[in-house]
Amino acid sequence: MRNALAEIAKYAFAFAVAALAGAVLVAVMRGDVLGAYRTFVWSSLGTAGGFAQTLNKMCPLLLGGLAVGLALRGGYFNIGVDGQIYAGAIAATGVALALETVANPALAPFAVVVGVLGGAAFAAIPAVLRAWWSVNEIFVTVMLNFVAVFLTEYLTTGPWNDVMAGEAITRLIPDAAKLPMLSVRAGSHVGIFLALASAVLVWLVLERTRWGFEVRALGDNERAARVAGIRTAWVTAAVLVASGALAGLAGAIEVTALHHRLILGLTPGYGIMAILIAVLGKARPLGILAASFAMAILLVGSDSLQRSVGLPASAALVFQALIVLSVLFVDAKRSVRA
C-alpha cells in the first residue's frame, strides 16, 4: 500500500514536472496555458465520450504492453508488436470477409480467435529463429514490422480493397463479425474487457503456473534454467508466440470492434508505445495496466491540445516525450535517495 502510494506520488510529480514543461511549450507557441490543461484533462477523462475514447485507446496499448512485457519476462525483446497487430488484424479481416455470407453471430468471436492465431503465427517466425537458431529476435521483429506494413498495403489496396473509398482500406466486414458496442453514442466497445481479461490471464500464467515460473527463470538466467532441466528453446518459442498472440488480439479487436475493416495505418506506432509501457510498468501486468492507462490519457489529452490551443501535432509529440522523461527522472532520483 505504501508502495502504491509512492508510485502514485511519483507519477503525480512527473506529471507536474511535465506540465510545467508543457506550459512553457504552449506559451512559446502562444497558446492559452490554462485552457490547454483544462482540455487536456477534460477531453480524456471529463466526459463519458472522452473517457470511452480513452479506454478505446488504452485497449491496444494495454495488449501491446502485455505482449512486450510477457516477452520481457522471458528475457526477450519483442519490438514487433506493430507487425503482429497487423497480422492479427489481417487474419481477423480475412476470415470475416471470407465468411461474409455466413450470418452467424459466432463469427465475431471466431474472427477474434483467428486474429489471435494470426498474431501468434507471425510471431512464430522470430520465435523459432530465436529458439532454435539463436537469431536475434530484435532484428527479426523489427524487420517483420516493415513486412507486415507492406502486406497490409497489398491487401488493403489489392484484393480486399474498397474501391469506393479510394484509400488503402478494405471492404467492411459483415455485421456478424462485429464485436458489440458498449455505448454507441460514446463509441466504446467491449475490447477493453478483453484486454483487461488478458492482463489478468497474463498475471495468472506468470505468477501462478509453473510454466510462468519457467518463463521468469528463463528471463533471469537462461543458462541456469537450462541446467535445471527447463526446455528453454520451447519456453522461448512459446513465450514469443504468446506475446504475438496478445498483439494479434489487439489487432483483431481494432478490426472487429473499432474500424470494422483493415486499414493501412491501423497502428500508429502502438508497438513503440507498448515498449514504453512495458518498461515503465516493469513488465508486471499491474504496472502495465497502470502505465497503459496513463499513456492513453497522455495521448488523448495531448492530442486534444491541437484542437483547444492550436498546438501543432509535433509539439504534442514533444510534450509526450517530456512527460515520460520526467517520470524516468523522478523515478531515478527517488531510487537514488532510497
Partner: protein
Amino acid sequence: MSASAVVTLLLDPELWRLMLTMAAPLVLAGLGELVMERSGVLNVGVEGMMAVAAAVAFLTMLKTGTLLGAAAAAMAATLGLAVVLGYFAITLRSAQLTVGLCLFVFGTGLASLLYRLVIGVTTATPTVQTLPRLAVPGLAEVPFLGTVVFTQNALVYLALALVPVLAFLLVETSLGLRLRAAGENPRALDTVGVNVRALRYGAVAVGGLLIGLAGAYLPLAVTGAYSDGIVGGRGWIALMVVIFGRWQPGWALVGAILFAYTEALQFKLALVTKAVPPQVLLMLPYVVAIVVLVRLYQGAEPPRALGLPYERESRL
C-alpha cells in the same frame, strides 16, 4: 529472363552506385550506434535523432547556404540529444530502452516543430542545393569501381573511410580496448581505475555526432528538401545494421550494403516484372536481411553489458 540479362541487371554499375549513395547514411548512423553499443549504451532513438538532424541541417542550409555550417548544426543538435540520453542512461541509470524511445518520439516531434516554426505553412517546398559528386581523379575511370565508388559525394567517402578507422580504433588502440571492455564488463574496467562513466559519455557523444551526420546527409545529399517522413525508418535500419554486423564495423558496412542493394535492386526489378505485386518487392530488403542473418548470425552475442546501467555497488 536469360542468365546474362540477370547478371547485367545485378551488376549494373549505376545500380551499385545508387546503392552506395543510399548505404552511406546507414553506415554513418550504424557506426554511431555501434560506438555507443560497444560501450554498453543502447540507443533506440536513432530514427528521432536523425529526423532532428535532417531538419536542422536543411533549415541551416536554407538560411545560411553553408554546407559545413548545416552539417555542424545538425551534429550539434544530435550531440545535445545524445547528452540527454547519456544523462538518463549513464547518470540516472534509467531503462535505456525507454529513454531511447522517448528520444525517438521527441526527435520526431521536434524535427517537424522546428520546420513549422521556421518555414510555416506554405504550398511551396523550399529546396537547397545537394552535395555535388566528386570524382576522384584517376580512380573514377577504373571500370565498374570507378563508377560505383569513386564518383560519389564527399560524405560517402567519409562514411567509407570511417569503417576501417573505427575498426582499427576498436581493435588496435587503448581507447578501443577500454570501449569494448565498458560494453562487456564495466565493473572490470572500473576496478582497473578507468572512468566508465566518462568513457560511456564519450562514446555516446561520438555516436550522437555520427548519427547527426547521417541525418544531415538525407536532405543535404539526397533530397535537397525536408519532409516529415524523410528518415523513413532508416534510423531503425541503422540499428539493425549494427546487429546484423555483429557489432563490428566491417560487417555493419556489409549489412548496410546488403540492405541498400536489395532496396535499389527492388526498384529495378519492379520495372522488369509485373507478375509480382509491388509490395512484395518492397518487402524484399527486409526479408533478404532476415534470411541472410539467419545464415550469418548464429551465436553472435551482443556486448554483455549492453543496455544495462552500471552501478558500482549493485550485485544484480
